[in-house]
Amino acid sequence: MTIRPITISVPAETLDDLHSRLSRTRWPDEVEGADWDYGTNLGYMKELVDYWLHTYDWRAREAELNRFAHYAADIDGKAIRFIHERGKGPDSMPLILFHGWPDSICRYLKLIPMLTDPAAYGGDPADSFDVVVPSLIGDPGMSKSDTEQPLAKIAELTHRLMTEELGYRRFAAGGGDGGSPISQILGVRHPESIIGLHLTDIGFPIMMANFPDLSDAEREYLARSQAQGFTEGAYAVLQGTKPQTLAYGLNDSPAGYAAWIIEKFRSWSDCGGDLETVYSKDELLTNIMLYWTGGPSVRAVSYREEWVSGSLAPDQQVDVPVGLALPPRDIDPVPPREYAERNLKDIRRWSSRNSWAARSGHSSVRSGTSRHRSKSPRPRAIDPRPGTSPAGALPGRRPAPLLPSGIRRCNRGHLRPWLAAPSKSLVRNVRNKQIPA
């Protein structure tokens, strides 16, 4: 047992340094009436940095975070940090929840009390969970010399955490964004340990699929997903190819780091363009603080091609039971069920547009009835990540006819290659690195 309790405690000098950087922020200009069209809005950024400097209280937020039980464990020489909260019920089911990027453990903080103590929220104590939320910032799985792919490595590390360190013989897993493929890898590699998976998106692995028999609905989904990728997905290609080049600016400029993250929280959430209908500045900044203070930034923004290739290959099946809860305003469109079923063979629950949206559309978010759902920022555009351009991955199929007319004009210029098929070497790479089931 290497588990030890920890508390989050950012050194005062880190906060002083942050304050001094924020007060010296050298703002870029923006064109008149730019709104959010060119990226993170300047007026909002100035407001946010002003708040960060003069109103935001990290120590108070830190104390809130520390109300949860945090631990660290060393597995294979790698330290992994996690929250572990015991359920309050007769027979709590262990559940590990994986966050993605650019969110953090904050993704699940609102859920933890509801999951561990359903009775306190008018639920049935028989539904209680022991909840484990590992922190993947400063990614414990990433090292160039590793032969194992990072997502698979995280899956392995956390499997050992759950079984060897925490003593759970079987457990449930869940996640969204990068957390979805990690969960799926657990299902492929350790079906004996996995009770079931709860996913909020299908993840990016099956986007690599080369399926000859796509239904019309699947083709439309892939086209919409790809189209979304053109306008929203460039960050993923960048982080997937040159994360280090980006890291210098983000790690040196808190305003720069915040802008890089905030844009995603706005465009991937059910906020209707008004970020603060879903996230308060405190929430946004606390999540950013975990990145700013969380150590090496290159790892926080990296997911090179091996991240993609480290997830599922098209012919890999997840046989454990899966529940999918697909929010209507996720960045990626809701996939047709048959598409998800290509890899996920035992979908027991499917909550999508019809069932979910009716209860938790935009207005219900505003009235606060389902804020926990909106708290989960939705995954990035899947397609432009190297090697995952879906329509392009279909030899003999031309992507252009699938595209909405407004997108076709992007089929040129600098983005032309982006639109077309994924590079051969990346596809090859993915195929060579299938996860042994």
Binding site: K144, Q244, R412
Partner: protein
């Protein structure tokens, strides 16, 4: 139109602030043994930041830049900076050279004198050019556009007015690489009566979108190779084309961040064999970076990608350009195109495959570059004279 002579003189407080920022640079970590695989190498960045703080001398670089004749003028509400060096020869031909990104007007600093005064460098004075090197709107010492829609096409229109209305040339030559290639092509497309010929070092990315049924095997290979390369190297362009503002905050706030963003490109796009300093010393790299940092133009410079993506009419990317073109293809530039690809859109009269050099042509191989420009325009000079009605 009024033209003012201009001297580069960065205020001392900007340099003080820069020193302060560099001193407090919060460098990221790096994956063990990363080399340059993940992007700009950490060890090299530490060296650069140290050199920038302790050794680099902006005032010396500034003095060197000020040896050229700089001017500013206002065209259609845009303040434009340009270098204008009069040629020394019997009949200098005016040429406007357009830079790209992440270079700047500095791209041409080594060749201005060679082109303007060939005799001084052992050449023929008959080859002399009047050399005009502007900074594109949003770059360096030109104004930052405050409205949407400043595309390469609008820049080309500004250049036509600069050359004719402001400087009084009826007809002129044009040349460029990177974004400058596109601007030059648009200049020829929209103002064919004014442009004697184009000297280009790449075909630009403009014509890639055309949907062409009868591709040759070479063209197919070229397009596949470009695509392959672009997935590895082109993400910066995707970000700059879709979310430039999101990136601008960090790059305008962190000198190290800006330097890293640029240096990766100078290394991977040049003929340096992986050793950036075989092509560019730290002074050269930093002077180019300073032209963006000191003017706070990184945000406006990358917006050009967005504008070209969103506001450049499609027809401009497809129409054939009839003005004579000289193409100088450098072997270590992204992927040299096959001639037939260039000829789909351009009237290629001269095609030179260089023995060495990369994307930053005139910075890397000034002599080769200059020889090719002179040779391409030599036969066009007679035609140029005739068009102007000049008798010899």
């Amino acid at each position: 139109m009024e033209v003012h002579s201009f001297t580069i003189d960065i205020p001392e407080h900007v340099l003080d602030d820069l020193r302060e920022r560099l001193m407090h640079t919060r460098l990221p970590d790096e994956v063990e043994g990363a080399g340059w695989d993940y992007g700009t190498n950490l060890g090299y960045m530490q060296e650069i930041v140290d050199y920038w703080q302790h050794t680099y001398d902006w005032r010396a670089a500034e003095a060197e830049l000020n040896r050229y004749h700089h001017f500013r003028t206002e065209i259609a509400g845009s303040g434009i900076h340009f270098i204008h060096e009069r040629g020394r020869g019997p009949e200098p031909m005016p040429i406007i050279l357009t830079h790209g990104w992440p270079d700047s007007f500095y791209r041409y600093h080594k060749i201005i004198s060679l082109l303007a005064d060939p005799a001084r460098f052992g050449g023929d004075p008959a080859d002399a050019f009047d050399v005009i090197v502007p900074s594109m709107p949003g770059y360096g010492f030109s104004d930052r556009p405050h409205e949407r829609g400043m595309t390469s096409a609008r820049i080309a229109d500004l250049w036509a007015r600069l050359m004719t209305d402001v400087l009084g040339y009826e007809r002129f030559a044009a040349g460029g690489g990177d974004i400058g290639s596109g601007v030059s092509q648009l200049l020829a497309l929209r103002h064919p009566g004014q442009v004697v010929g184009l000297h280009l070092t790449d075909v630009g990315f403009f014509s890639l979108g055309a949907d062409i049924p009868d591709l040759s095997e070479n063209e197919r290979r070229y397009l596949a190779a470009i695509q392959e390369l672009w997935m590895q190297e082109g993400a910066y362009s995707m970000v700059q084309s879709t979310k430039p503002q999101t990136l601008a905050y960090a790059l305008n706030d962190s000198p190290a961040g800006l330097a890293a963003w640029f240096i990766e490109k100078f290394r991977s796009w040049s003929d340096c064999g992986g050793e950036v300093e075989r092509r560019f010393g730290k002074d050269k790299l930093l002077t180019n970076i300073m032209i963006y940092w000191a003017t706070e133009t990184i945000g406006s410079s990358i917006r050009l990608y967005y504008e070209n993506m969103h506001a450049l009419p499609l027809q401009f990317l497809q129409e054939h350009i009839d003005v004579p073109v000289g193409m100088a293809v450098f072997p270590k530039d992204f992927i040299p195109p096959p001639r037939e690809w260039a000829e789909r859109r351009l009237n290629v009269e001269r095609w030179t495959e260089m023995s060495r050099g990369g994307h930053f042509t005139a910075m890397e191989e000034p002599e080769l570059f200059v020889q090719d420009i002179r040779a391409f325009f030599r036969p066009l000079r007679a035609e140029h004279r005739e068009a102007l009605g000049v008798s010899t």
